[in-house]
């Protein structure tokens, strides 16, 4: 049983990495990776939102939609995740100002991200139960964080590197992301 969760965790975080293998959540991956501090805050916000989002959307799809209203999944997931995250943000601003300062602007930014919607939909597709959904969401977010932070550190180095003019800026970032994706293909076959 425990082994099952470990496998699920590694599978979601490394083998089926949401950014580099499933190609979800590319906008924060390219957009918020210019500075390391910003990317760390973004990674934490994503982990938070994804875990909460997986849990709530599992409850919604299981108890509210059932099998006959399955076509409302995408729509209701967006609404519920956005609402719940907004609520948590307000709660956090009141009760934990320190955490709010760290995650602050990134929480609403990540709310409507495709990775955040993609993971709950994958959860439904794979017929995960509540615990599995939570683990899958959190692991996916950790995978995202890992890749985002690695990428941000590389981009900080690239700032100082001597890059041919034609490759400067977004071009070298795209090439780097592609190489990283190839590197992550090495994990394929580790877990199913």
């Amino acid at each position: 049983m425990f082994e099952h969760y470990i496998l699920l965790f590694i599978g979601a975080a490394l083998v089926n990495n949401i950014v580099l293998v499933k190609i979800l959540g590319l906008c924060p991956f390219m957009g918020v990776s210019k500075k390391l501090e910003a990317s760390v805050a973004m990674a934490m916000a994503t982990a938070f939102v994804l875990t909460i989002g997986s849990g709530t959307s599992y409850l919604i799809s299981e108890y509210l939609l059932g099998s006959e209203l399955f076509y409302l999944r995408t729509l209701s997931f967006i609404v519920v995740i956005a609402g719940v995250v907004q609520f948590t943000e307000m709660w956090m601003e009141k009760n934990s100002p320190v955490l709010y300062q760290v995650l602050g602007i990134y929480l609403p930014l990540i709310t409507t991200n495709c990775a955040v919607l993609g993971i709950p939909l994958l959860n439904v597709q794979e017929k995960h139960n509540l615990m599995e959904s939570l683990v899958f969401g959190f692991a996916g977010a950790l995978g995202f964080s890992l890749v985002l932070i690695i990428f941000a550190s590389m981009r900080e180095r690239l700032e100082a590197a001597d890059i041919p003019q034609a490759f400067q800026g977004a071009a070298i970032a795209m090439v780097t992301a592609g190489l990283m994706s190839i590197a992550f293909m090495g994990f394929a076959g580790l877990v199913r």
Binding site: L64, E68, L69, V79, F87, M90, K94, N95
Partner: protein, 192 residues
């Protein structure tokens, strides 16, 4: 079909109510201390204190990062009011940040002005009117006398003119009551 509509309406209503309730319940007031300090500062936005404006300086004072005696336009009276509000010892104005001057406004010599718009960009309160290659002028009632427009002017056509006392801006002087030592021999004569 009808169920789907009801489900979506129900979801939206529930989340709307939750968010509406929590925005009232978890309302966070801005730091009242910052606002009260900001009310004492002269709002010249001159930056002589080393902060980008009066509000950032007020925030820095409130968090204990800045001293209360860095505001030359506020003058001695300003430092006293701040010391009073914060319950700290009065200290003389730090002359590193500039000397207090009589309240003055900037005046543009309109014969010399070449219409370069540099002073317009420098003005923190939008008190300079004009367009590229057209003469500029200062709206005297908006000018805070911060002198930030003087340095950028390439033809040195801006001068500061003290505001003369007129029936419009005359006001009662604050009564100044000197603190008398209770007994001669107990006082240390540090301040004369």
């Amino acid at each position: 079909m009808l169920t789907a509509i009801w489900v979506m309406i129900g979801l939206a209503l529930a989340l709307g109510l939750l968010l509406g309730y929590s925005s009232v319940k978890f309302k966070v007031e801005g730091d009242p201390l910052v606002d009260r300090i900001d009310a004492i500062l002269p709002q010249t936005q001159c930056g002589q204190c080393g902060f980008p404006g009066c509000k950032p300086y007020a925030t820095a004072i409130a968090s204990g990062e800045a001293d209360i005696n860095q505001c030359p336009p506020g003058g001695d009276a300003g430092v006293r009011a701040l010391a009073d509000l914060l319950g700290v010892e009065y200290k003389p104005l730090n002359t590193e940040h500039g000397e207090p001057k009589p309240k003055s406004v900037a005046v543009i010599d309109e014969n010399v002005c070449i219409g370069c718009t540099l002073c317009i960009q420098a003005c923190p309160v939008d008190a300079i009117l004009g367009a590229a290659k057209h003469m500029h002028t200062v709206i005297a009632s908006e000018c805070t006398g911060c002198e930030l427009c003087i340095a950028p002017c390439p033809v040195d056509c801006i001068t500061m003119e003290p505001v003369k006392e007129s029936p419009d801006n005359w006001k009662w002087r604050y009564p100044v009551i000197r603190i008398q030592p209770v007994a001669e021999h107990t006082t240390t004569n540090s301040i004369h």
